[in-house]
Symmetry: C2
Subunit: 327 residues, 2 copies
Amino acid sequence: MDDVARLANVSPKTVSRVFTQRDLVSAATVERVLAAAKRLKFRPNSVARNLRGGASSTVGLIIGEMLNPFYSRVATGLEKVLSEHGKTLIVATTDDTAEGEERVADTLLSQRVSALLMIPVGEDQSYLEGERQLGSPVIAIDRPARNLVADSVVMENRNGAFEATRSLMEHGHRKIAYICNPANVYTQVERLRGYREALAGTGKAAATPWERLIDDPAIDPVHVVSELLDIADPPTAIIAGNNRMCVGVLRALHGKDNPPALIGFDDFDTADILGVSVVSHDAMEMGRRAGELAMERIADPTGFTQQLVLPTRLILRGSGERPPLAS
Amino acid sequence: MDDVARLANVSPKTVSRVFTQRDLVSAATVERVLAAAKRLKFRPNSVARNLRGGASSTVGLIIGEMLNPFYSRVATGLEKVLSEHGKTLIVATTDDTAEGEERVADTLLSQRVSALLMIPVGEDQSYLEGERQLGSPVIAIDRPARNLVADSVVMENRNGAFEATRSLMEHGHRKIAYICNPANVYTQVERLRGYREALAGTGKAAATPWERLIDDPAIDPVHVVSELLDIADPPTAIIAGNNRMCVGVLRALHGKDNPPALIGFDDFDTADILGVSVVSHDAMEMGRRAGELAMERIADPTGFTQQLVLPTRLILRGSGERPPLAS
DNA sequence: TTGAAAGCGATACCAC
DNA sequence: GTGGTATCGCTTTCAA
């Protein structure tokens, strides 16, 4: 910057002004500075810029992995909002482990991100409490943070599952399975609850014999489904707890003669071609709203924390409307 | 840091040492400093840290959009390598426009990323030449950079298309279509060439009547396919130039009685269930190799630039082996 | 093994 | 409109 100032015959401060509050500088000076900057290939260093003010121009996002289209949709929505606000997105992945989460949170905070957005995977985010007090807002996406005051954006998990189950019941099903992996996360707990409530009707919601709550990513959905369909009183319909599980179930049912009905959670690219009914939601919108929440919180760290709940929508494409086998 | 130093009764420099070259400090001092740091919730500011040295701990990636699974696979592979090297990933998207590319490149360079990785979308990257000379290595992924010295990682586009075409020919096809959108990118030019060469046999490769090289993202693949199958001498097989187009073709063929054979470029999640033959490649590996190339170039900016070419693999799942209609 | 001083690239505050 | 000066949080000399 000093070089530019020298070449343009002004003070460094004026150069700085040209790149930040251009209207405070005379047109002639601006032109001279810009020319000098161009010649010297000068580009303001936004890192140094933010050294002073505290809040940087970056925002951190912690997700399980980028391969999962749900996560990448969230990232997309978020990135859109950020770029509108001149912020850039730092993405870090946890491989869906709690240790990974703490590790990358630490890294991102070292980078002084102006906000930390995350899809929590660990069971406890209290380790972030100090940071939050120090001024790094935390926004939880898809699942609320635990033991931490944080804004959050989630979806209507329970109601989505409730409606899916009810829809299957209206098509004559009564023996309905619920399969998911992982199971110990907020979204699945909620969805399971909605499923049970629908099945219970006015009675008391309780576990059913057709629930398969897996918690080991290594277990093959195909295997689980095969086993499930082989039990004495097999289900006539299946609800898959997330996109991954839904594809797994599809794979398991593939080629079967009289497949059970199927409704998946999360929409996916070829679901229309495959005729798969799903509980759909707008993951990009989640990212977008989370981004807006972050901008809000950066602007006013003292406001009330909010919990946004986004709707889900049942999309019927065929697989969810298959009647039960008349056995 | 000063506060920590005061509390631990040492100089700031010693605190710095504890967090960087711990072995140069006595064990007792280390402990005292760490305790003080913990009490004060001190976390080294890696932004300020890098203010001095030049190269920062971030690496920038410019991609078209995160929704495209190809891009996100590349990002995944890259992120893996970076986290092993203690670097974090800043992702910026261009919406697949050249202007977007320049804009976000500028932003990332302002952030002083230690390397700039990109899937070039514009037709000219010479605008980065200055930066490269100033010490920001540029790595092109999937497509070589134009008018710029840069390392790159690409795949065997031409050969992949060649083999797909040959495979269709071996199954009796002669009237083979090639559909893609966009068309004016390196990958498509190469694939088209492979397709033509295979069809030409020993003759001179030339355009065929079944090529549909679209360049408007708004045009619906379904429409293009319908039209293509309605011409006087319709193709009996189709090669789709990328994942998006492949799904589009699938959608168009869906429900048709005697669909043409189909081979797609890029594998996708449910391709096995849908029985779609594809030219597959390892996008994560591309990201990984690009990351390694970046680390290499950061360590030694003077080395020869490299061009890595990764193989493709034809996966036959049914759609590519349908024989031509005996019409 | 530890410390003092200068500086990285920019901005904020206060003069002129 | 423009220019000094201190400062942000840390690291790199060079000494002790």
